[in-house]
Symmetry: C2
Subunit: 480 residues, 2 copies
């Protein structure tokens, strides 16, 4: 039995020994009846104090994993459950129960993309992640220290369902254009949870929602989960085509219009001011509520746009945003701004969904914003991402001839229209094999157009240079 001891670790040595032996017993590497080295012997082998071994063995005994028999030695007394033991009994068909309720399976698109992002073995144009190297670990180091030292705060305790007050104040200050009151703000576990709460609060199976074609797959999957019919409205380079909106509303009586007006996902397009006003007018006239999904508006490379929320004079707009794209996805903090009435209803569902967002992280983020660091951070990352966008456009110009795209004025994505004689599925597979991940257009759309989405925030400049070349090579290979 080899046990590795790390003298640098902050985990004490007896705990290291304890965990390693425990793991082996549970995993079945050590079996019931196996004899362990005596405390004296093991202390010699590992060159540690005998009391250290004693402590580790005591913990294992307390767990009921080993026992000592006087004169005989110390033995494993835990009987490993063999994988096979269970199999005969695996008779409950959870998957069948699930499929009966849901028409077909969900795609695991988000998980697939995130798994690839986490693996980090590829050139990764597929996700919607900020650049790893820009995440400000050091700044948060000091913030967590201060917060955990502050005796006046209960940063590890429970907190308000709607969010910690200081964070809501900071969010309010970030939103000067629409200046919500604190009662008009709900802090959520990212924008994804905000959408989930809105959908689960206001929609029932059979309802219709208008969405842009194409649109964010996370919203599409949620709507599918809740049995909601999606009605698509086409886009041009000014954003959603509001010309057909009235017709679609009259025909389908949607409960919501779901839109990403600014630096749209996946197309990168921003809705023009005129279209924004049209949309609000139509929504108000037909009395349809709007969900404005706005994760990217902080990342302005050329032109910024007023939010629908700030332009709206009524309560029709439910606004959703997040710190995932400007700061860190791993923080899982986003928010909703809407009328007090809507927030109250969402809070009801937040409390039964997961009570509230982690208290400590809310305080940490509030402190990061209040100190001015967030503002400076957004300016800094915007600079980097603008450069990366420019580089990716430059590489696309260099390596492709017959593709179409809009240069995004902010945000994360370039949406490429390729020649329709190439199978996007084949292109995806070939690029993946060559170590480049991007997202096929069909995840964002019910149609099967020849599109791919490229993210430029996450990859390094070197990866953009070599990755676009690889995609182009694969593309040309498939067109032969």
């Amino acid at each position: 039995m080899t046990i590795k001891i790390n003298h640098e670790s902050h985990i004490s040595i007896y705990m290291q020994i304890y965990h390693q032996i425990k793991n082996r017993i549970i995993d079945g590497d050590l079996h019931e009846g196996d004899r362990l080295l005596s405390e004296r012997k093991l202390s010699q082998v590992l060159n540690v104090n005998r009391t250290t071994i004693l402590s580790a063995y005591d913990l294992l005994k307390a767990d009921g994993l080993i026992d000592s028999f006087s004169g005989k030695g110390t033995f494993v007394i835990y009987k490993t459950i063999q994988a096979g033991d269970h199999n005969n009994y695996y008779d409950y068909d959870f998957e069948g129960m699930y499929l009966k309720h849901h028409n077909g399976k969900h795609d695991d698109v988000i998980k697939m993309i995130m798994d690839d992002g986490i693996r980090r073995s590829n050139i990764f144009f597929a996700g919607g992640l900020p650049a790893e190297n820009l995440i400000p670990n050091e700044a948060f180091h000091d913030i967590y220290r201060d917060l955990l030292n502050d005796k006046t705060l209960n940063v590890l305790s429970s907190s308000d369902v709607s969010g910690v007050k200081t964070l809501k104040q900071m969010i309010k200050n970030l939103m000067i254009e629409s200046s919500p009151s604190l009662k008009e703000i709900l802090v959520t576990s990212g924008a994804q949870q905000a959408l989930d709460l809105i959908f689960k609060t206001f929609l029932i199976p059979g309802d219709a929602v208008i969405v842009e074609e194409p649109t964010f797959f996370g919203a599409l999957q949620l709507l599918k989960h809740y049995g909601v019919k999606t009605v698509t409205v086409p886009m041009d380079n000014q954003g959603m085509d509001t010309g057909v909106l009235a017709y679609l509303i009259e025909r389908h009586h949607p409960k919501f219009i779901y839109t990403i007006p600014t630096y749209h996902n996946p197309t990168g397009i921003s809705m023009s001011l005129e279209r924004r006003k049209d949309l609000l007018k139509i929504a108000s006239h037909y009395n349809v509520a709007i969900i404005e999904d706005d994760p990217y508006s902080g990342l302005v490379y050329e032109e910024s746009y007023p939010s629908l929320k700030s332009l709206s004079k009524s309560n029709h707009v439910i606004y959703v945003s997040t710190f995932s794209k400007t700061l860190s996805l791993g923080l899982r903090i986003g928010w909703v701004t809407a009328s007090e009435e809507v927030i109250k209803l969402l809070v009801r569902n937040k409390q039964i969904s997961d009570l509230h967002v982690n208290t400590l992280n809310q305080y940490a983020l509030a402190s990061f914003i209040e100190s001015g660091s967030y503002r400076a951070h957004v300016i800094m990352v915007t600079e980097f991402y603008r450069r990366k966008r420019n580089l990716m456009i430059q590489m696309l110009k260099k390596h492709f001839e017959d593709i179409e795209y809009e240069c995004p004025k902010g945000g994360y994505y370039i949406w490429l229209r390729l020649s329709s004689d190439v199978s996007i599925r084949k292109l995806f597979d070939l690029c993946k094999k060559k170590g480049v991940m991007m997202t096929p257009g069909y995840h964002f759309s019910q149609s099967n157009g020849p599109y791919i989405r490229l993210n430029f925030s996450y990859p390094s400049e070197e990866e953009i240079i070599s990755g676009i070349k690889i995609i182009s090579d694969c593309y040309n290979e498939l067109r032969k």
Copy 2:
């Protein structure tokens, strides 16, 4: 305009000035056209450097809140939106839309109770919170520092939907009795989210679920939200009455049996070993899945019980637990253990619900467990809570004569049956007026029995002594 400067704060002075002026402008204390003090003048008044004021004013200008006009001075240029401006347009009836979908309103029980807990102005027997003073802030201080310094980890980045691997390993080690594999574990945002994910994955409106009578209101509210019919099974001092279970299953064809077998909420009762075996036999025979909700089993005052999960030889049991009761509710970390198939289906819904649990906190908790601190912490709090339980029982004996209760062998709660000639609603109101909060029994039950739930983990010993006396006084006053 008074501005307060805190020289002790880690927030720099110009940011303090910036935020305070910004707040006043947005809140409408300073109006469009109001003149600010000149930079020179304000620097004198506040006794700070002139460049400090300059920096603050620059930020306010960048926000479009103020502007300087040469020779005239600096003015607020931001037009506050008056509350009244919106009112004419408040024409979308979100509440009507909501109510049409849900039969009647939800109670806001969880939020109400948590709000009272946060206010901390009362003697608080109402919640399910650990004692504030036992939460180990200092230990986490070091852990966060180490994690944020560790360049090999990406603690602020996104992470696996199912949970960070090191935390899943630690959870596995905590569960030696049932020893799940890592693929049989899903980390969730508390047990509440675990229940939400299970219900939303497997249940549709019209389904039936068997629950103990009484049971946890967070589960009842979720089931109501999903349009699921609850079928109640009575309890005695051995736990769920399995004698009537077969009859209820044959009659109602439930999808799940939801149970809190160990240190039940609200009754404190633990299901006997015989009943556990009966329950598993019946569930297996009728092929009904079990949700075992187990937040309290770590807190053993006299007698511990094997989980249903560890006793089960099939895949029927979905096990849910949390660190909220033993460590900190504010962390929002719980987990599910079930067959790999079930975890895969839950992961699908986790990704569209909120992607994953905050990465940094998962690492922090894993480190806290791995170092042995969690184990020591649970032993420590168990000692304190046992004393508090004993004290509460002692006080109940002293101040009440005709009440009935079981002494809980672990967990958080004492469930009191009072005389039925006292209105629980009146008792609740009167106690609240006298500064004592407890939870009326009707939140846990469809029946209206004369019960109250008292929590003994959160209040101090002094509060238990004086609080029980106050409840007794109120009770006697109402019986006159």
